[in-house]
């Protein structure tokens, strides 16, 4: 998607070419570096990632082919004041999401109050009837949330997407920082950046705080936490292994687990050992072949029964994907207000629901300017980007839209902010977004300063997805 001639907010330089406050320290340092040396460092970063094995598999390519997400060495920088406001907005939104999830699986007050059409729940595959009337241990639905933010101006951050299902990318946040500190140690003595490295410890603590009723954790010992991965061919396997390793948790596959005496147990060299908290990176659909997809070999037969009888904590809870739905997203301002009684601090991107005839008419008329997304889609697949599509592509998409309007939402093409990347010719602006990672436990909400910045490496492109040629940057929140 191309940004055309719109004026973009650049996060490093103002319109007159002056350096903005957030980047003052970095720009100083950058000006003092030898460009040849920087080029060499940039080239070496890839080797570092390859050796470390930070790769991801691209679906649809040859099985087992591993690719790198390109890393850009110019950090994306946020001031302490900007971050304070952002984190207030994120916390508000995440609390609302959890209250919303509890409500949709219980009394559905929000539907009764006429704020959300019941149809959006009823006709949604992400809504799991198995979760109705059940309260997850500690009352937490989304232990880990990723809130995708885009920026359009000095004070304008908007939420593009909520990831309440199984947000990924946190390992890149951590490895990007490690890489930057290894490449430019002196930079971190000149600019004071808030650390992110304790994320795995906070994650472990947060998960351990959500033990299920059946867990018997002896005093002085820790609950047993395991990370459930689909296996080494999954695109995010590196991250699953990385997090398990950093947390000191077991990395398990479905075949390692079974129901033993009303608990989920893993096959260890000593026998079956009960798991208290399962951080699962397997989708709902594959979690339990007895309850969901019967052909799944990635999950554990019977885990939903164990879960519902208090034998295990599943993080995130099954059925949280309903909150990722883009039709639900369009109601987030109402949702936030309904459960918190406050105005939302973070705005939504304006969204047309194609299910509404008036909106559909508007969308059909303005397709060349709009971005149209499937309500259940993710990862940048199955969408139309009006400004870069041919007449024929638009006509084809319009037919799909007319056939199933309620399957789509549309948004304006945003003037996303840019941040410079390092190129052979020097710094060049590219569009970015930001995914902060949020931990929720019965003890509260914990937001790691910064998050993962994704960057569209192609000039003018607005698509930051790693599956579609995006890269990542280290994201800095400055100390006060």
């Amino acid at each position: 998607m191309n940004s055309g001639t719109t004026i973009h907010y650049d996060e490093m330089f103002d319109a007159a070419g002056g350096v903005r406050l957030a980047y003052a320290g970095y720009a100083d340092w950058y000006a003092g570096q030898d460009p040849h040396w920087l080029k060499k460092q940039s080239a070496e970063a890839e080797g570092f990632f390859r050796r470390t094995g930070i790769t991801f598999n691209v679906y649809g390519n040859d099985a087992g082919e591993e690719r790198l997400i390109p890393f850009d060495m110019v950090p994306r920088i946020i001031t302490a004041a900007e971050w304070r406001r952002l984190s207030r907005g994120i916390e508000q939104r995440v609390r609302a999401l959890n209250a919303f999830l509890h409500d949709v699986y219980h009394r559905q007050e929000i539907v009764r109050a006429g704020k959300l059409p019941e149809r959006l729940l009823r006709e949604n595959a992400a809504y799991l009837p198995e979760m109705a009337g059940f309260v997850p241990p500690g009352g937490v639905y989304t232990h880990i949330v990723g809130i995708d933010l885009v920026r359009t101006g000095p004070d304008e951050f908007m939420v593009l997407e909520d990831n309440a299902r199984t947000p990924s990318g946190v390992s890149y946040m951590l490895e990007n920082r490690e890489t930057m500190m290894a490449m430019f140690p002196e930079l971190f003595t000149r600019v004071r950046v808030r650390p992110v490295s304790d994320y795995p410890r906070r994650l472990a603590r947060s998960l351990a705080a959500s033990v299920p009723p059946a867990a018997t954790v002896a005093s002085g010992s820790r609950p047993t936490v395991a990370v459930l991965t689909p296996g080494i061919y999954n695109s995010a396997y590196f991250e699953h292994a990385f997090l398990a390793d950093q947390m000191g948790a077991e990395l398990v596959e479905g075949s390692d687990l079974r129901v033993v005496d009303g608990r989920i147990a893993m096959r260890t060299t000593r026998g079956w050992q009960a798991v208290d908290v399962l951080y699962r990176r397997v989708d709902d659909e594959f979690l339990d072949p007895l309850t969901f997809n019967p052909t799944s070999v990635l999950g554990v037969p019977g885990i939903m029964d164990v879960y519902r009888s208090g034998g295990i904590t599943i993080a995130n809870a099954p059925g949280t994907g309903i909150a990722d739905d883009k039709a639900i997203y369009s109601f987030m301002p109402e949702i936030v207000e309904f459960y918190t009684g406050e105005k939302p601090i973070l705005k939504n991107v304006p969204t047309w629901r194609c299910s509404e005839p008036q909106s559909l008419a508007h969308v059909l008329e303005h397709l060349p300017e709009l971005v149209v997304k499937e309500v259940h889609g993710s990862g940048g697949y199955g969408m139309l980007i009006g400004p870069t599509s041919s007449k024929r592509e638009i006509a084809e998409f319009a037919a799909k839209l007319r056939a199933r309007p309620d399957n789509y939402i549309a948004q304006p093409t945003l003037a996303l902010s840019t941040c410079p990347i390092f190129t052979r010719a020097g710094l060049a602006p590219r569009h970015v977004d930001l995914r902060p990672f949020v931990l929720v436990s019965p003890n509260g909400v914990d937001i790691t300063p910064g998050g993962l910045t994704r960057v569209a490496l192609k000039k003018g492109s607005l698509v930051v997805n790693s599956s579609q040629g995006g890269g990542t940057k280290d994201s800095w929140v400055l100390e006060d």
């Binding site: 390859r50 050796r51 470390t52 094995g53 296996g231 080494i232 396997y237 292994a241 990385f242 398990a244 390793d245 948790a249 077991e250 990395l251 398990v252 596959e253 075949s255 390692d256 893993m266 096959r267 260890t268 060299t269 000593r270 026998g271």
Partner: protein, 314 residues
């Protein structure tokens, strides 16, 4: 630890050990071929394939027993699931699977080995660079071992890794002996012939024992001495006795950590005491070949019992 992880670590190190031993075996075949005529060297290449259990596959694929063809088949042929490249890949896949059980340095050494050897073995090896390629394989295996030695906790994970290493090494040394046992049998007609010396030298070289043997035996070489060296000399790190001494110690480590011995411990003790209570005279008298065949079977039984006792699979 997970049974699957124990299995992964165990096989990761078996594959690495096998890849390294294969490189040594090829190296010995290569030297032998350099010093001999075509027909004799084709026998030698064939025996390398037999030792690795690959002769059948090689013949099925159709090829001549020349250095280039045999080396490429063993090192990198896509039709050969037991190629060195396939083993390095299998070791790396296992390492990836047990990423949380090994240190970052062990993982990076393994991953880097795979990256380097995949490039190296991406092109056919020629006689002119075969030595270099084989050297790379040995060097990479050494790097992984070094990372392991220097960074891994001495716990069950380390023990499973070592048990995999030494079961594989014992098996490999025994297989070399099995294929070459006739060379080591006393035969009136051949004793002292130069052919014998070359053959013996190859056997020693294929387990990297040529220098050690000469050093211990002050330059004199005889068949019985070599057999004894490879089977019974606890000082030589590729001898059966050495491997079983290490296995004993790593299995004892497991028993200590778990507070209980298993059937694998019992089997290991039986096989170990066989080595302990015998002498080369008795082995030769009862039949060198029979002794080795039986050893290989017992070694396999130990491996099977370890996998079962420690729940490697469901």
């Amino acid at each position: 630890m997970l049974g699957r992880s124990a299995n992964g670590v165990f096989w990761m190190f078996r594959y690495l050990e096998r890849a390294e031993n294969t490189a040594r075996l090829l190296d010995a075949g290569f030297r032998m071929a350099l010093t001999r005529g075509d027909s004799a060297s084709s026998d030698e290449w064939r025996s390398v394939l037999v030792t690795m259990g690959l002769d059948h596959d090689f013949r099925a694929r159709g090829g001549d027993y020349t250095g280039a063809q045999v080396s490429n088949f063993i090192l990198r042929d896509k039709d050969n699931p037991g190629s060195v490249l396939a083993m390095i890949e299998a070791a790396r896949t296992n390492a990836r699977m047990v990423r949380t059980a090994i240190t970052r340095e062990v993982w990076e050494a393994t991953n880097e080995s795979w990256m380097i050897l995949r490039d190296r073995l991406g092109r056919p090896a020629r006689e002119s660079n075969l030595g270099e390629v084989l050297g790379d394989i040995r060097r990479q295996a050494t790097l992984v071992r070094g990372a392991m030695e220097g960074t891994m906790l001495r716990n069950e994970i380390f023990n499973f890794a070592r048990i995999g290493t030494f079961l594989e090494r014992a098996d490999n040394t025994a297989r070399i002996l099995d294929v070459k046992y006739h060379v080591l049998l006393p035969s009136v007609a051949w004793v002292g012939s130069s052919l014998d010396h070359v053959q013996w030298d190859t056997v020693l070289r294929s387990v990297a024992g040529d220098r050690a043997y000469r050093w211990l035996n002050a330059g004199s070489m005889d068949a019985r001495g070599i057999a004894s060296f490879l089977i019974l000399d606890g000082r030589f790190p590729r001898s059966l006795t050495f491997c079983y001494e290490k296995l004993r110690s790593n299995m004892a480590g497991l028993a200590r950590e778990y507070g209980v011995e298993t059937r694998a411990h019992e089997l290991l003790r039986n096989t170990g005491s066989r080595l302990h209570q015998t002498s080369i005279d008795r082995i030769v008298e009862a039949g060198l070949h029979e002794f080795i065949v039986e050893f290989i079977a017992c070694n396999l039984d130990v491996a099977t019992a370890v996998a079962k006792d420690y729940r490697f699979t469901d």
